[in-house]
Amino acid sequence: MSLNKKITKEYYNDILKNNVSLAEGVIKQSAENYIKNNDFPTTKDENWRKTNLTNLLKHQFSCAKKVNFEEQTLSAFNISGLKANILVFVNGYFYQEYSKIIEKNNSLQIESICRIKEKNPEIFEKYFNKTNIENANIFTAFNTAYAQDGAFVYIPKNKIVKNSIHIYNFTDGNTQKTISQVRNLFIAEENSEAKIIQSFHSLSINYTLSNIVTEIFLEQNSKINFNTFQGEGDDAHQINNIQVVQKRNSSFSNNIATLCGSLVRNDLGVKIDGEGCETDLNGLYLPDREQHIDNTIFVQHLKPHSYSNQLYRGIIDNKASSVFFGKVLVGEGAVKTFAEQNNNTVLLTKYAKSHSKPQLEIYNDDVKCSHGSTTGQLDKDALFYMQTRGIGEKRAKILLLNAFAAEVLDKIKIDTYKNYLKFLIDKRMTGEKISGHCYKMGECRVY
């Protein structure tokens, strides 16, 4: 097939539909209906104006298969010093032999979603696809209709999970261009608390597409700290849809770090469906070469007295580009809402591009909202000042960039993970090669 021909949704439907899927009955039908009636988004769609899928849709992906995976590969991607409950997925398949749950508690579940569906269908059915995410876009529809596995976390009432939960996701397109679908479901019951890290890595240089959907439910007074590390290869594509629902007095914090990836689209939706919630959304992205990273966020304040914050920062190198589209909707009844949005990007070359659009839609008068966005080069006065102290230009730039990134990184609540990121980012900036972690990352251009 010629590389210029667009791969159709019918093609995707054909290759994916044979999977044993999680969804059944009405849910599956609804997703299939969505696929029938809709197509891949184009730049004419409001939410996709600055993210063009044309190149992605030229690749003829085939369904990812279960591959051989070795323990030593896993240890190469290990976050040093982190003591965690571990789940491992490769190409969307669960590898139980490498998964390790150190926190034993009868009703705490850290599992593959597929196994939960068998073991505990009640809880699965209570929450699975309850955000109706299949109707969000064609990717969520494909995922809902045909995804077969993913991570499942259930934190019972009053349980505070002490050790982090680290979910590894590897993609391996060694033999062919592959698509894998991952479906996650996280539930925090009343007064419970957990910290989750989800990391994405490539095991090959071939083209891959990961289509991930994550639903997160926070019941009253619960807390979830959700960290995403995206360090896939230069030819890896990722479409990542996350939908969060927050009940009264719950607190959700999100930290997403995107260090690499050909095309990465993160759609994060948070529905604040209870009073007194806190929602703290942070992101850092460092695209290089011709990479494109898109963070599209939609926070809905539906109940009074809640606070939401968005702080997204990007360092855009070479001919890379980024999108920040952050929307906050404050409903009629959501009085005393306090919402902040900030997006700052540094463009390191004249070819680098950043699109930023913080947006507020407010339907009552009793709110406090602010948004800000800056895009620019590194501060020349600051660079000169540093140089007059004898600090070389490159080192001065790295100091400034690290300081810029630190505002986001310092919000990370898991110290070992924060240090891991700082280490990787520092290596990336100084151009030192490191193996593993982020495929080819060491070859990214020195800032």
Binding site: D379, D381, A382, F384, Y385, M386, Q387, T388, R389, G390, I391, G392, E393, R395, A396, L399, L400, N402, A403, F404, A406, E407
Partner: protein
């Protein structure tokens, strides 16, 4: 130490320095005074290597080297220091991290062994004490949210840490209260050792009571129009600049 010969410099096509001649020998303190906009800070920036200025002609010899050929950071490592009239805020970079990077790079350039963490911290403490700078500033970002006086003290602190051969102080006295002025001046005096030299830019004669200059120059419209001893500063205080301008 430094020899400036017929230096012409411009910004955006506008000539600001119109033929500066100045020689400063080791152990000397020179003061430059002059009306606003006469080019004092421009001279300082050109010597430090700010690239927005274009040097149209002239030469600067610094410690036997052609200064104008060197990059800003090399000039600094060779021992040139500029205390800014308007110190720059650097959000997110702590003073400790900042000055540590600077000291490391300068020592490396000069072929000196790197300081141990303990020695470095001890040195920081000493130099802070010299300008009576509060220790709690160490972990604050460079100049971010500092008061005018704190910024100026921070400049002198950095100078003390880097121990330059030749330091230019651009209106380091402006915005300082009487006590701070004395502290800063004392700091400078303690650094004087007979081998280094200072160029002090100021509007006020009173600074020169503390830092006694060997020579006072009046810069006007991009040229040094008069040179004298510290009495010249007193005369200026008395008469203003009009008699120079005619």
């Amino acid at each position: 130490m430094i020899k400036i010969k017929n230096l012409h410099a411009s910004i955006e096509g506008k000539e600001i320095l119109k033929g500066i001649n100045l020689e400063i020998k080791p152990g000397e303190v020179h003061a430059i005074m002059g009306p606003n906009g006469s080019g004092k800070s421009t001279l300082a920036s050109v010597l430090a290597g700010r690239d927005i200025y274009e040097v149209n002609s002239g030469e600067v010899e610094f410690d036997g080297k052609n200064l104008l050929e060197l990059k800003t950071e090399i000039r600094a490592r060779e021992g040139l220091f500029l205390a800014f009239q308007y110190p720059v805020e650097i959000p997110g970079v702590t003073i400790t991290n900042f000055i540590k990077s600077a000291v490391e790079e300068q020592r490396k350039h000069r072929g000196l062994e790197q300081l141990t963490a303990a020695k470095f911290l001890k040195m920081m403490k000493e130099k802070k004490a010299l300008v009576e700078m509060e220790a709690k500033l160490n972990n604050r970002a460079v100049n971010a949210g500092f008061s005018g006086g704190e910024k100026k003290k921070n400049e002198v602190f950095q100078m003390a840490m880097l121990d330059p051969k030749f330091a230019i102080l651009d209106e380091t006295d402006s915005g300082l209260d009487i006590d701070a002025l004395r502290i800063v001046a004392n700091g400078v005096n303690k650094l004087k050792n007979g081998n280094n030299a200072f160029l002090v830019i100021t509007h006020y004669q009173r600074l020169l009571d503390y830092i006694v200059p060997d020579f006072v120059h009046i810069l006007y419209d991009g040229k040094i129009v008069k040179t004298g001893t510290k009495e010249l500063a007193l005369e200026l205080e008395d008469k203003g600049y009009n008699w120079i301008k005619k």
